[in-house]
Amino acid sequence: MSENIIEVHNLKKIYPKNIVAVNDISFQVKKGICFGLLGPNGAGKTTTIEMMEGILKPTSGKILFKGELIDKRFKEQVGIQFQNTSIQDFLTVRDTLKLFLSLYLKVKPLDEIIEICSLHDIIDRDTKKLSGGQKQRMLLGIALINDPELLFLDEPTTGLDPQARRNFWELIRNIKKSGKTIILTTHYMDEAEVLCDEIAIMDQGKIIVQEKPEILLKENFCGAFVTIPYHSDYERIVNTLNWNIKIDSNSIQIQCVDIDEVLTILLRNKIPLTGLKIDEPNLEDLFIKLTGSSLRL
């Protein structure tokens, strides 16, 4: 039986002027997994994660950490990387890590943190002179400094270039291997697909679904997507066929089970296959299907 490391029960956050950021949500996170909290900007995922971190007070509801309400000991056992954070100016990466090392009772040796987060090359650099990827690595180091059981990562790769994102994913994969539980919020669906064992999709303060990504995709899609370039003649033809289609100004997307049959019909109707694409459904497709909107990045 897998144990839940953290449980959220009927959590609600209402900001002044009656703005409901999080609307009565409940979910559990199993120990040792990477749990993804997905959704567009403004969905309520950062508010949710900050309530779980103990940074924000919920309007109502409760959060249990290892079966108990969170208390003073909680901060010693969790690591947090915020979406936007600054650290004191004019300090080097080493100074900054040492500062945070002094704030916890139980800590990981500095050398190990440097090793895990690949900080060797920047350890004596002024934190102001770090690139986006380097800064995120240092902030991850701070989050790991107390060797936490549970790690919160709030949109850790937002704004990073593709190479830095992939390097960061590698660090997270290694942390996962060490058995830590990770709660990750992101609006990058590819990131969630690569890293998360289980996801919850939020929109407008509510959790729409929560499951393993592969199960969600299986439940919501069958087959693949065949996409052809848009043309008004093609649109007229595919509209006469009884297919599940989605049309925009650039393309016509056909969701199908039997790809061969679709291609045969297209050729029979003299629709050229030039520019045709065949894709497996992914989390972004799932998100669009479930929320009825594209990601609001």
């Binding site: 940074i55 954070t85 704030l103 009772l105």
Partner: protein
């Protein structure tokens, strides 16, 4: 203690590595003192200051003389001390028919001659005091140092904590086991260490070439400097406890610091000032800080001699610190 030291050291490193600010904080008072010293090196003001004890007859010839300023004193000892420091040029006790002049003062000699010419001196007994002149730069220096400490404290704590709150440093620290008391004490003692160290250095540098008149104990001056700094740092903390915007914090700190700079007796003596001005000045911690520091430095007062100022500074510090700690919020939410 470990957490307090970590915050203390981190803040010190942050400050001392910010070389631009460091140079400014040291240079500003030195440049100001040097400028004042040069600008006011000529003490030949066209005004003679006469200390008066008792009520005088304004119609008497001597008191009709132009360009004489009369300052009333209740205490003869205090007035004699002022005369010995050349802060007044002549002293008359109307009740006792006695007068005092400083034999080291050329201005005192001239006023005595005027006193004699007008025939007013005949029934008065003459006393002579001696004493080295206190230059304006000696008098103004404790004020400039106290003002520098006030600015460093209010902006160094008030403004910096608001900046930390705005850019998320406080939020990051809140996520650790550090509590607000440990954070606040770390910030206060770091700033106290910085301002006392820097201003002691400024004092040493200025004293090297200006050779200030220092009558009192250097140790007592240091104690008052620490207390005055602590009081203003606590006031800075009070300003920083809730503000979310640097602009607002800047505005409020300026709103408080400018009247303090103008009316706390930094640039001119509050003696002889309208009573309303003296009452307003007594509200400001800077007034008590400057007055105590000046009394120790120039008049050789002991700590008991400035105990009323010490008590006021201690009470203000406690009120500011408790209110600031109670109202302190880590983040903007």
């Amino acid at each position: 203690m470990k957490k307090f030291l970590a915050i203390f050291m981190a803040r010190n490193k942050e400050f001392f590595k910010d070389t631009g600010t460091l140079i400014w904080v040291i240079l500003f008072p030195i440049v100001m003192i040097t400028g004042l010293s040069l600008a006011l090196s000529d003490n030949n003001k066209p005004l003679y200051k006469i200390g008066i004890i008792g009520t005088y007859n304004e119609s008497a010839d001597f008191f009709q003389t132009k360009y004489l300023q009369y300052i009333n004193y209740d205490s003869e000892d205090e007035a004699i001390l002022k005369l010995s420091h050349h802060q007044i040029d002549f002293l008359i006790n109307i009740h006792k028919n006695e007068y005092w002049m400083n034999s080291d003062s050329s201005k005192g000699y001239i006023v005595e001659k005027l006193f004699e010419i007008t025939g007013y001196s005949q029934s008065f007994i003459k006393h002579i005091v001696t004493g080295k002149a206190i230059r304006y730069v000696d008098w103004v220096f404790p004020g400039v140092i106290a003002m520098n400490i006030m600015m460093n404290s209010l902006f160094g704590v008030g403004f910096v904590i608001v900046r930390y709150r705005k850019n998320g440093v406080l939020k990051r620290l809140k996520a650790t086991p550090l509590n607000s008391f440990e954070f606040i004490t770390g910030q206060i003692f770091s700033r106290l260490f910085i301002v006392v160290t820097i201003n002691s250095f400024v004092f040493l540098i200025c004293n090297l070439f200006l050779k200030f008149v220092i009558v009192g104990s250097l140790f007592n001056m240091l104690l008052i400097t620490i207390l005055g700094s602590f009081c203003h740092i606590s006031l800075g903390l009070l300003f920083s406890c809730r503000f979310k915007s640097e602009e607002l914090a800047n505005g409020v700190i300026n709103l408080v610091s400018w009247p303090m700079m103008m009316f706390s007796g930094i640039w001119f003596s509050l003696e002889g000032a309208p009573s309303i001005l003296s009452k307003i000045a007594n509200i400001f911690p800077l007034t008590h800080f400057v007055t105590a520091l000046r009394k120790i430095m120039l008049e050789g007062a002991s700590l008991t001699g400035v105990i009323n100022h010490i008590i006021i500074l201690v009470v203000m510090s406690v009120v500011f610190l408790i209110s600031g700690s109670y109202l302190f919020k880590w983040d903007e939410n």
